[in-house]
């Protein structure tokens, strides 16, 4: 803790600088509210339910999309990782679609799915799918051949090898996919809500910008920051529960 003192002092100074620059008019701009004002608006809107309901709806869409996308990615990844031929046919398609930046698929999808939940869930699932697929395939490929042979001589069936050997051995790699796809899900949710605006936290930001309500805008960004932080925390917790052996064994 002692080591961080200077850093925390710096952070507090920066926040004070923000407050002072707005309060004493060092930055002359309509768009530069004081930190206190932003916190106040956030507090009021969270309490009144205005912001909390929006956040809850966005998170619900994000979670549904995330679960669908990662399940599909992991399942297809297990398949492609174990079946070479299928891999040869499908991987080129995946590689062709994967580099498309996700905002670009939203306009055509609006034509089919409208601008409501279906669109946003689909877009989140789509963006999560690729990192999960790639990391699962990589994990399955890198399972040490000796482990699989050991299981075979111990009379393990193909299905059990997949479940008891390949899946746990690939889990660290799958988790590293989650490390990428979890923040990506949040990003994509916001992107989709901004482009196909009608509701959600992303839409709130865009609307506040049009309406010149900087306090509302910053308070939405603040909420997203907290959510991003919590997601990371959640991930670390899960990682410690699911693969406690991994980091320790790597250092051994």
């Amino acid at each position: 803790m002692k080591k961080r003192t200077a850093g925390i002092v710096l952070l507090i100074l920066l926040l004070l600088l923000w407050e002072a620059s707005a309060r004493f008019g060092w930055v002359k701009s309509e768009n530069w509210p004081t930190l206190v004002a932003v916190l106040e608006v956030t507090y009021r809107q969270l309490l009144s339910g205005e912001l909390s309901l929006v956040l809850a709806a966005s998170m619900a869409r994000m979670i549904v999309g995330f679960v669908i996308g990662s399940l599909c990615g992991i399942l297809l990844g297990l398949l492609l990782g174990t079946l070479r031929t299928l891999d040869g046919f499908l991987t080129p398609l995946v590689e062709a679609v994967r580099p498309i930046p996700v905002p670009a698929i939203i306009p055509p999808l609006i034509l089919f799915l409208g601008i409501d939940d279906a669109l946003k869930i689909f877009v989140v699932a789509f963006s999560v799918f690729f990192p999960m697929l790639v990391s699962t395939v990589g994990g399955v490929r890198n399972v040490d051949e000796t482990l699989i042979r050991t299981a075979r001589t111990l009379q393990t069936t193909q299905g059990s090898i997949l479940r008891f050997v390949i899946l746990p051995a690939a889990l660290p790699s799958i988790m590293s996919g989650f490390r990428i796809s979890l923040p990506l899900a949040l990003i994509t949710t916001v992107v989709a809500e901004m482009i196909a605006g009608s509701s959600g936290i992303g839409y709130v930001i865009v609307r506040a910008q049009y309406a010149m309500q900087p306090q509302e805008m910053y308070s939405a960004v603040l909420c997203l920051m907290v959510i991003g932080y919590l997601l990371n925390l959640l991930f670390l917790l899960f990682e410690r529960r699911l693969i406690p052996w991994y980091h320790l064994s790597e250092n051994a």
Binding site: A6, T85, G88, P92, A104, P107, I187
Partner: protein, 251 residues
């Protein structure tokens, strides 16, 4: 599997997808207006390419992206090395970075409109912001993870601190730095396209939204294909550079 088999399999599956897409449209299983078959998109795409009208928006997107991305990479690696190598710098900056890192950077696009307008400086800034953090974090990790044996060997061979940072720590962290830069590449492109779409000004992102709003569906798909090609090309360049620069990375 040999290269020839792989190429054959890839060709077959692309052909299959195009054929199914075409048939879906022909058989009126999907709305051919909303999803025109490839045979209708291809001429539009050819027009755009032959007339050269793809060049200006493409260059605009690429240029702004490249500037923002380069700034992010240079700053990320420089600050990352300083933080990874000097504990005091690390502890000084860490709280601030931990606070800013979890913000989904796309959320900063509208606030930046207010300060920087809709033009180039806004786009460069957002791309740089989005691409900065993955590079920074990867560089710190890389620099902190350098094997002390390597550093001590260099020390006993008489290398000074500057040499150690640039000749030992930087090269040893490069594989991780590239991993971070790869994440940044994708993120930066997402933010660039988003900024173009929201600002309604210039570039491929703007064109895709614009075509959709004016219901020029074929053009919209043509521009998406061009953008996909850009993504593919950037990935390819990235992989090539990575394989040349960290050729020693084993398999």
């Amino acid at each position: 599997m040999s290269t020839a088999t792989k190429a054959l399999q890839a060709t077959l599956s692309f052909a299959a997808v195009l054929a199914v897409w075409e048939l879906l449209g022909r058989a009126v299983l999907v709305n051919a207006v909303l999803l025109p078959p490839p045979s209708l998109i291809a001429p539009t795409l050819a027009d755009i390419i032959v007339s050269g009208s793809f060049l200006r928006p493409l260059l605009e997107t690429l240029l702004l992206f490249a500037v923002g991305y380069s700034i992010a990479c240079i700053l990320g690696v420089a600050i990352g090395l300083a933080m990874g190598w000097y504990d005091r710098v690390y502890y000084l900056l860490e709280p601030t970075i931990e606070l800013l890192r979890p913000i989904p950077k796309v959320a900063l696009v509208p606030p930046l409109f207010l300060f920087l307008g809709l033009g180039a400086s806004m786009k460069i800034t957002t791309v740089a912001l989005a691409a900065f953090f993955p590079v920074l974090i990867a560089t710190i990790q890389g620099a902190r993870g350098v094997d002390p044996v390597l550093v001590n060997t260099a020390r006993t061979l008489g290398a000074g601190p500057a040499r150690i940072v640039f000749r030992i720590v930087l090269p040893a962290s490069l594989p991780l730095i590239f991993t971070g830069m790869r994440v940044s590449l994708a993120l930066g492109l997402i933010v660039e396209i988003l900024a173009e779409m929201l600002s309604g000004e210039g570039g491929l992102g703007y064109l895709i939204v614009d075509m959709q709003r004016s219901f020029a569906i074929r053009q919209m798909y043509a521009w998406i294909i061009i953008l996909a090609a850009v993504g593919l090309f950037l990935n390819f360049v990235f992989e090539y550079l990575e394989s040349r620069i960290v050729y020693w990375r084993g398999k």
